[in-house]
């Protein structure tokens, strides 16, 4: 795992000391909220509906047991005993007191963590495939690239006042688990014809009020050219991105309005200049970083422990079916810990649960944990023969839900329960859906499906790219939920199609029941998933199920 250098360490501490002074002046009234706002946002501190919210970066979603335990300590000491994992590999604390925040930041710095650039119009926490360094289908570990970008973008003097926030994601595998095409810049590690690793560069993706699928601006960029090329993209955006309208300020609008080919020309021209200036720096730094991400020493000894346990334990079998993915090392598996216990808030983990996961990672998982954009926690390196023991320990803290990829594995933003921007609640909708389909015992029958819920148009819950997306809006003071169908968050990204008029809060779950009943009747076999059936049949039969009265009238 990457360790902070002295430079990183001193930098983080000096930022905290700066912020401590700013907080003191805010508390004693010498700074107004308007003056304080840009300062706190630089340090990931938001003012929400009921309280401040601190957003802590988990760079490329990777953390170790000690860091996870420290998050638990912070939750117990300065918050209400839990934290919320977000869709961008951050953790949010919802109830900190302003005067405690510098202390929280100090506690984070003790374990090489921080909240820098988790907010504001700068380059945000760089995200990566949560199976990085473990996935069987990987070209290369994307995390060294993400760490390089973290170092490059942190306090980059030229890019502190971009037209709008800027998000970068990196995937090392052909299968996209990082929603790469919904980012301002997305990078896929690829190999060229002679086997050298490099990047396919995607720009202009984004969700929010104007969802756009990112477009490939460069098919293959040699690894050593990454920083000069990205520097050039950011310069073009910084100069040409719109600053007149907040809602048209993201790079996706620039790509859309200027056209990809014109932008590509500008980027390539800037790249030629930058490349000369960057000579050699990137390759040397990246090589050092790559060395610090060397995989653990695996223990390949196997046993029949898992096979024997599976024969007598159907609960474990269900867990392995949904929550364990293939690892590069055949003696290992990637275990996803579901933070989607039915009836609970998606992405919320208690301090006890965090500590339990830290213990498991240290005892069985080479001390590695990952946070996924789907708001789950990953144990990336678990020996298959240890899975029964890991499962038992997860069960003891209520984290053994076998529902990864199923209907109750819902992405949901905090919604109107916490967020100042939200126009509707999303957590209770997610809970109601999970509870209902569990009552119906239909979860496994329905199989793989992605439901994503956002409580406002900003789409933190990724509803555009859910197989079923739910968007909560405010219609004259009443919550109203629009349903979109057919979205896709992977390498074949698609924005879902709006099915029709919205539903009242109480009508959402019945609507989904009709929709999924229709799917179960329409699929050509149990193997055909919801999204496959949707692609085969189109939107019409599903619309008819959602709006039976319209279908009846038309008949």
């Amino acid at each position: 795992m990457y360790n902070y250098t002295d430079f990183d360490h001193d930098f983080v501490r000096s930022r905290i000391d700066q912020f401590r002074g700013q907080v003191m002046r805010r508390v004693d009234g010498s700074l107004s909220e308007d003056e304080f706002k840009p300062l706190r946002l630089m340090n990931g501190l938001y003012l929400q509906l009921h309280a401040y919210m601190l957003r802590v970066a988990i760079p490329y979603g990777t953390l170790n047991g000690r860091q996870m335990r420290q998050l638990a300590y912070i939750a117990d000491t300065w918050d209400r005993g839990y934290g919320h994992f977000t869709t961008r590999q951050n953790i949010q604390f919802n109830w900190p007191k302003l005067r405690d925040v510098p202390e929280i930041l100090d506690a984070l710095a003790d374990v090489q963590m921080h909240a820098i650039q988790t907010s504001g119009n700068c380059i945000r926490n760089v995200t990566a495939d949560h199976f990085a360094g473990a996935a069987a289908d990987e070209v290369e570990d994307p995390r060294p690239t993400a760490e390089l970008l973290r170092q490059w973008s942190t306090d980059h003097p030229e890019f502190q006042f971009l037209p709008r926030k800027f998000k970068i994601a990196v995937s090392g595998a052909a299968v996209d688990r990082a929603v790469v095409r919904a980012h301002d810049i997305g990078l896929y590690l690829r190999r060229n014809a002679v086997g050298e690793a490099g990047y396919e560069v995607v720009i202009g993706g984004g969700l929010g009020r104007t969802p756009m699928v990112g477009k490939t601006v460069r098919d293959f960029l040699p690894k050593a050219d990454l920083l000069p090329y990205l520097e050039s993209i950011l310069q073009v955006y910084n100069l040409s991105g719109r600053r007149d309208n907040k809602y048209k300020a993201r790079i996706k609008i620039l790509v859309h309005e200027t056209g990809l080919d014109v932008l590509r020309g500008q980027i390539e021209a800037g790249f030629a200049v930058q490349k000369a200036a960057f000579a050699g720096v990137n390759a040397a730094v990246l090589a050092d970083i790559e060395a610090s991400f060397a995989p653990p020493t695996f223990i390949n000894t196997r046993s029949q422990a898992l096979e024997a346990a599976l024969q007598t334990n159907p609960v474990l079998q269900a867990f392995v079916d949904t929550n364990v993915a293939p690892h590069k090392n055949p003696a290992y598996g990637i275990v996803t810990v579901s933070i989607k216990t039915i009836g609970q808030t998606p992405g919320d983990a208690t301090s006890d649960q965090m500590r339990a996961m830290a213990d498991i990672a240290e005892e069985f998982g080479h001390d590695e944990l990952r946070i996924s954009h789907e708001q789950n926690v990953i144990l990336p390196h678990i020996r298959r023969s240890d899975i029964p023991a890991v499962h038992a320990k997860l069960k003891a803290v209520g984290l053994a839900s076998a529902n990864i990829g199923l209907i109750s594995d819902i992405i949901a933003c905090p919604g109107m329960d916490y967020c100042a921007l939200a126009t509707a609640r999303s957590i209770p909708v997610a809970q109601a859906i999970a509870i209902r389909f569990d009552e119906l015992r239909l979860e496994r029958e329905i199989g793989p499906i992605k439901i994503k819920i956002s409580g406002c148009i900003n789409a933190c819950g990724h509803h555009h790219v859910g197989h079923i997306g739910i968007l909560g809006l405010d219609r004259a003071g009443v919550e109203n939920y629009q349903i979109t169908l057919g979205g896709d968050a992977t390498e074949t990204m698609a924005v879902g199609e709006r099915a029709g008029p919205g539903f009242a809060y109480e009508a959402v779950v019945p609507a989904l029941e009709r929709l999924l009943d229709a799917y179960l009747n329409l699929r050509d076999s149990a193997e055909e998933t919801f999204i496959e059936a949707y692609r085969r049949l189109g939107v019409a039969p599903f619309k008819a199920a959602l709006y039976p009265e319209v279908a009846r009238d038309a008949a």
Partner: protein, 242 residues
Amino acid sequence: MPRETLAQRVARLNATTWADDAKGLLDQVLNRQLLGKVAMVSSFGADSAVLLHLLAQVNRKAPVIFIDTQMLFAETLGYQRDLAAQFGLKDVRVVSVDELSLRRSDLWGNLHQASTDACCDLRKTQVLERALDGFEGWISGRKRHQASSRAALEWFEADPVHARIKINPLAYWGASDIAAYFEVHNLPRHPLIARGYPSIGCAPCTSAVKAGEDTRAGRWRGQDKEECGIHFVNGKWVRTAA
């Protein structure tokens, strides 16, 4: 007089060595310096208890080399510890590939998926070669009945590549002899035998065997491979198509 060649020496040993049985042969080799320094190599697999039990009666201080390929079943490692303790073996040497070679050649532990031969070579053959440095011969538990490639096995056998002699005290034992020995001496069984594994190697390349199949059918199943590369047949490598 020209020095005796390895083949001549093996032929002489096979023609002149007189022993009542496997135990007698072990006694000559381990206690009477029939051919200098000798170690036993044991996999602590399905049949291994027999030879180890014989060795313990003859000389429990004799060196026993166990290659932990780090791909074994945990059950094998447990069985190894149990047998060594029960028989009072004094010099069991557990040898493994060094970490640097491992990180160079098989970082992800999946080399066996690309090439079982390369994996056996890295984790067994090279390791054994280093472990046998300084020994003139080694004792193996192979038997004629195990595989077609072992049908002509003798007590003594040339290992020409390393100029060593291999001693096969159980060469003429049949499956029933082994079973009877386990029975008479009440030896503990490898726990995987009960799960259908009559021959046990590394976990990824060993599968259970159905009734009626050859006992070694579960080794490298589906591949045209019978031997891991440690053993030579008639002085030649047994190699499979790459």
